[in-house]
Symmetry: D2
Subunit: 372 residues, 4 copies
């Protein structure tokens, strides 16, 4: 029977609760050994001291471990689990499970394709530098091969989770006589995201090897990928990669589309990505179409020049609330209102991901209504 991918949007009822997935497994709806990857939003602050990602991963891996008889550590090392902290505003904690499936007959045209990869562990002294870029690029190429996507244009979303430099890791590296690119944890997260975006752009051929200069990180924003979504966090030590696209080697009702977002107000990009999948927002999508939408991924960031559509914003000068929390809340409000659903993956820190000051959106939807 032809290969297909099953995509399920699962709510998190409390911080590290995996009960809804447990139920799906218990009920025989989804066997644990079919799980390929997970992308989700947890309710922490999305910053250096966001522990909800690690906590939820611990719950999830313990659950899968019980079913698969494999240690949680081994599972974590082969199943990418990319969590972004921060469900500001109307966003709702949830995760999207990607699982292997079979369909009765091959689908005409192409269907949703997936590939994953894990790089080797990245030492603190490599984070945010050339070695980091290359490590991501290699892992992305490996995931593309696994996804059996031949034309890079059919790749619509590449999610990468990169390690960052905590105070403790910086101390360790310095004690070993290594240098780190920064000892400011928040800045290290930004540099790690930038390096990841460069790696994706390189792997997708969006830019050439010549431009892959590490000094361009967080400096030359014309270097970018419209399909890269990079997170960074204290809980990973290697680069975890998930590649999503459409391919004729896969079957099933699901397809993915993406659009860049020109700025943080670009509701047009959201509506167009839906339209690419045959869904109209007028202005909110219907309940029936809502049941077709299996996942929404958004990357965004506070315009570093301090203006959006010509008007001053105050996100970058706020010492009380991290700017990434601000922008996630704003984009969450925008996209969730179009979808009629707060279960949107909105991740801040879109340096070199989509247009400068904007970002991107990717949507996975079925050709037919179902249980989203």
């Amino acid at each position: 029977m032809p290969d297909a991918i099953e995509v399920r949007k699962v709510p998190i009822h409390s911080v590290a609760d995996a009960s809804e997935l447990a139920k799906l497994i218990d009920d025989g709806v989804l066997h644990a050994d079919r799980v390929i990857a997970i992308i989700g939003k947890t309710e922490g602050n999305g910053g250096v001291n966001d522990f909800t990602r690690g906590y939820f991963t611990q719950s999830l891996m313990a659950l899968l471990s019980r079913w698969l008889g494999e240690s949680a550590d081994k599972l974590a090392a082969r199943i990418p689990c990319v969590l972004s902290g921060g469900t500001e505003g109307v966003l709702s904690p949830h995760y999207v499970v990607f699982a292997r499936s079979k369909v009765s007959a091959p689908s005409p045209g192409s269907s949703l394709a997936i590939g994953t990869a894990m790089s080797a562990p990245l030492p603190a002294e490599h984070v945010g530098r050339a070695a980091h870029i290359q490590s991501v690029a290699d892992a992305v190429k490996s995931a593309i091969a696994q996804a059996r996507i031949e034309n890079p244009r059919d790749i619509h979303f590449v999610q990468v989770k990169c390690p960052c430099i905590t105070s403790a890791r910086a101390e360790t590296a310095l004690a070993q006589g290594k240098s780190v690119v920064t000892s400011d944890p928040n800045r290290s997260m930004a540099l790690a995201r930038a390096a990841g975006a460069f790696g994706v752009a390189l792997a997708l051929g969006e830019i050439s090897e010549q431009r892959m200069d590490e000094t361009a990180l967080l400096r030359d924003f014309s270097v970018k990928s419209d399909r890269a979504s990079i997170s960074s966090g204290v809980e990973v030590e290697c680069n975890e990669v998930i590649v999503l696209g459409n391919s004729r080697h896969w079957s099933g009702e699901l397809r993915i589309a993406h659009r860049p977002m020109a700025d943080a107000l670009d509701i047009g990009g959201v509506v167009q990505a839906l339209r690419d999948l045959g869904i109209e927002a007028a202005p909110q999508i219907t309940a029936q179409d809502r049941s077709r939408v299996r996942a929404v991924f958004v990357k965004c960031e506070p315009d570093r020049r301090g203006r959006i559509a010509g008007h001053r914003h105050t996100m970058l000068d706020d010492t009380d609330i991290n700017a990434q929390r601000h922008i996630r809340g704003a984009l969450g409000g925008l996209v969730a209102s179009v979808m009629g659903d707060g279960r949107i993956f909105v991740s801040g820190g879109a340096e070199h991901q989509g247009p400068d000051g904007g970002g991107l959106i990717a949507v996975i939807a079925s050709q037919q209504a179902g249980d989203a």
Copy 2:
């Protein structure tokens, strides 16, 4: 010549900067003695220790005082200046100036009408209680009369700024043997907003005197006004009221419309309010229509039952970021994306203002394009 109202949206370049209004006055575009009222958003946290409202008011009144030869205190006592702190996410600090004007000929039909009022100072022991409700209701009725709006259905937006109870005011009242309804400053702000909403509902005949029980404040959310927008802050001591509607006693190109918002995702309410004024959002309004929009006012709140459209939100359990900051950021993202402009007045704390868990939107627009 017939009376009209001029409405100008003015940017704040830095926290307490009134330079753009100064320029309008200097250039003879807007004489200081024509200013009736001001509604704006400043860049503080919108909480008890948001000092940006008081700081900007000080700048503004100093400016007008220089032109009018009247003390800043006297000006503040007669010109309502309702500022809401918090430009989370894509929101942009700005203020809307309402000024008396004349037009060459009477307009057919009705045009934007305004009336203002100030109550007597409200002692801390009255805040959030029956005496507070009555004080607001009386002031709103007085403002309606001044606005010459005959049918309450032609009233579209009533903005009230109420005093709250700071720790210091609570101490003073208690030292005098008075009781206060709460000594928690954040809770006092919520109760003050609730009392203000009850006062507006009473004045507009939305509900009857019999239901005006102070024990229903923050308890019975079926008591509400779809046109009330209440702020509360440390910097006022009386209730300041601005009534906006349409009336045949006024002329000019401007009109106002409003719609309730069913929940924090109700983009339909936003689109309908614009449509009431002949403006289409598809999905963002055009640059030409943008120049017609003179002011956008939004009230909203984090659903107190912890769910939006059936999905859990985390705003109420967040000890790091006040829930009102969260919801302003989300609605700011939604409404600004439709408008293509972050200069939106979004105010949290919509208790009894619009549907429970939702809020309302009001828009002022010209029949013709102009300089917004």
Copy 3:
């Protein structure tokens, strides 16, 4: 051989890390079945959405479960694990392990004594009400009996962890037709702490049954216990109690002392508690004495009247930082500077615990220098 208690102060190297305890067990220094109770500080925000407590508990119980062959749930139900979130300022994440021990010969006089108890699960509708007070009082009495402390004056510290009301729990209770004392999560934590303090005061005979009026909670601050330390959090469903004192039924080098703190500046209380144990601070204790100190517990709170020693403080009016975070940071600075060690248990929310506006300190120290 006579019974004794071993007390160990263990660092947390990262959020949910129990590796140092694992090492003690692995090395045979401390057998897992000797663990009686744990009191610690984790690095969350100490508020409703502090997930570090639950996360660390999960790690700890998993560790003990591996050694004891008992499920983590069962362990959590019999070993009190009282964690307070928030290591503001100079505070350092750590936990204190209390373990059963034996000494070769009975000690003259009295030595550190411990007793623990768990109440039945407390439903949300009981939190912060009379039933809550009684539930705590009963559990404390049971723990005193277990500790074999005959004279209530020999009890020096009673730690209780109480459940609170999250938005979700409030929803559930309301859906069942029950009422909750408040649906504001932060307020529910305060009421739960108050009820816990009343329960301790009742059990210790500090006040009479007649004064145990639930309407006095957070109102009549003359009702108090100088030895109660109450935490509240989302991660517990019953009241967990640990009683500490000195008793002739126990042996060993350890003793405990406590002192009330009159206000948040009362360094005198700190110095006196140390002096009760034969330790001088001049102004910081010596390295040798530091090795005698096994645990320091502090309760404190931001004076609700807005003044400390006659001068205004701003903690209660701060919408950006929760007042409990402020006061923990201040007391942490004070006490850690005297001790020369940031591993202090400082817990906010001292309503009815120690003098109004102040709090209390308890110290456990050995008669001889050792490895603290």
Copy 4:
């Protein structure tokens, strides 16, 4: 009659309230034309968007302007007004007024001496660079000359307020083709403080011109001044300098002392600075000695290596609360408990000011008890 300096500690009753100084002037106690300088703490967040400093300065200069008939702008340009935002924990908003005075007879020995200076405005492209260091050094030398302090060892405290780079200023500089050292506002504040400290160290001869390499800023922490206290904020455009020491050219009962603080727990440094002035803390100073203390200035910072006295702290990894807010709260708790008074100037950001990871304290006290 011999010159002396009068030093008054004045409470701020609400954010921008200068009423207590107004009363002193009204009552003839302190004539406005005697005011030399002001150092104070306001209740903002101490970060980029702390507007309380500018707001209070506006109030203060308006007050002095009314008495002196000089414009507020001119006054601000000649009277240094150094405000540090952030009254975390037990700290109390207040300011210290330095005023010219005369005494009836010359004092034996030396008395408190003061000198002030203002540099030329510093463009954004100079902030945090060599030109910034030189600008501060020149201004400090000018202030020392004015203070008539001959031996640099008699200088005990040099307060400097430096401009920083906001998003808006960075935009302006970039638009003019200039480069800025960083476009991250928080980082620019740190670099500005570092440059200020280098400037003071240079002027005081603590280090030589050769070591004044701008690349050492925030890198080589062996370059330091034990008497520099540097603030940075959006509200100043030039470097404002106040030099304090003891000199035989001045008379009166006041003297100043200072001590470095080795780390954030160094209560010994506090006690020693008091002892230098003949005041004993045992452990808190007496009410009589408290009336002698006219001002307490503390600089401190969160150890950038993540440890204090060997134990991990979490300030640098906290995305919710800025690390400077944490450390001010901790040191405020320490020092205020010794003084029995929360009116302490505690300023974070002690890069190159005092020992690495520590800071410094300076105290001004009278030889006799009085009204502090």
